[in-house]
Amino acid sequence: MTAVRPSIRLEAHPDVVLCCIDWNMPVMTGFEFVVEARKRQEWRDITLMMVTTEGEHDQIVRALAAGAHEYVIKPFTPEIMLDKARGSLACWTRRCRHERRGGLASHGGWRGH
């Protein structure tokens, strides 16, 4: 439940490749976090994974439309989270390789699922 604006959190950790974002956070909602993070070109490679509950399922659609790549429903097991993270990171790796070869040069968003 600890959350700050992404501009504060992400600038302090430039090596972050995956953000797990709860919907219900102080300071800003997970949706607002996704929107703000997606405005920044330098963060476009970061995989954004929404972590939310079944009752907030409709909000997943909004978050994905805003630029989140993946989601996981709480409660989840460690195995589910690891599978999701591995899948997201594999997509991230493929995308980075593709971009190095000149593809997706100015793609503003992508879907890892």
């Binding site: 439940m1 219900n24 509950t53 079944e54 009752g55 907030e56 709480k74 409660p75």
Partner: protein
């Protein structure tokens, strides 16, 4: 599990039990059967702590979890994967207790007719003022032999903590 009938919103008591048990089995214990519904008279909560969220929909439903502090400390260690002897400060306790009710409340939201925004979790060492709101349902469990209660209250319209869009 008891439910209050009449003109109040009705919720599926078995579904509420299942949500709580699924959360504990998945994120706390790693197995089913540790959090079990209680029967008969509940043992009193010792040094009780309270954590709640408000589900804003056609009405406001408060989801309130109460647990003894030492049990809450055990729950915090389990949820945060801390050693059995790890000291638990108030911040860790609030983080874990808030997450418990956030997940349970977020899933109960799907059972509440017109369930909309969910408030941020609150944690306190006294029961929140529900303004005389009627009780919708009351369940108590035992977890590792200690009591834990889960109650739903039908708050007046526009009451409760603000929901998040």
């Amino acid at each position: 599990m008891s439910a209050v009938a009449g003109s109040l919103p009705t919720v599926d008591g078995e579904a509420i039990e299942a949500i709580a048990q699924d959360f504990f089995a998945t994120m706390v214990d790693g197995e089913h059967g540790v959090l079990v519904p209680g029967y008969g008279e509940m043992a009193p909560l010792v040094d009780a702590r309270f954590t709640w969220v408000d589900v804003h929909g056609e009405t406001v439903t408060r989801v309130l979890v109460a647990v003894g502090r030492s049990t809450g400390d055990m729950l915090t260690r389990a949820l945060l994967a801390l050693p059995d002897d790890a000291p638990i400060g108030d911040a860790d306790f609030a983080d874990a207790a808030g997450e418990v009710v956030n997940v349970i409340g977020g899933n109960i939201k799907s059972l509440v007719h017109g369930g909309g925004a969910l408030s941020l979790p609150q944690v306190a060492d006294a029961a929140p003022d529900c303004g005389g709101a009627p009780l919708i349902s009351e369940t108590w469990f035992t977890w590792r032999g200690a009591p834990l209660t889960l109650t739903l209250w039908n708050l007046p319209e526009h009451a409760g903590s603000a929901g998040r869009p």
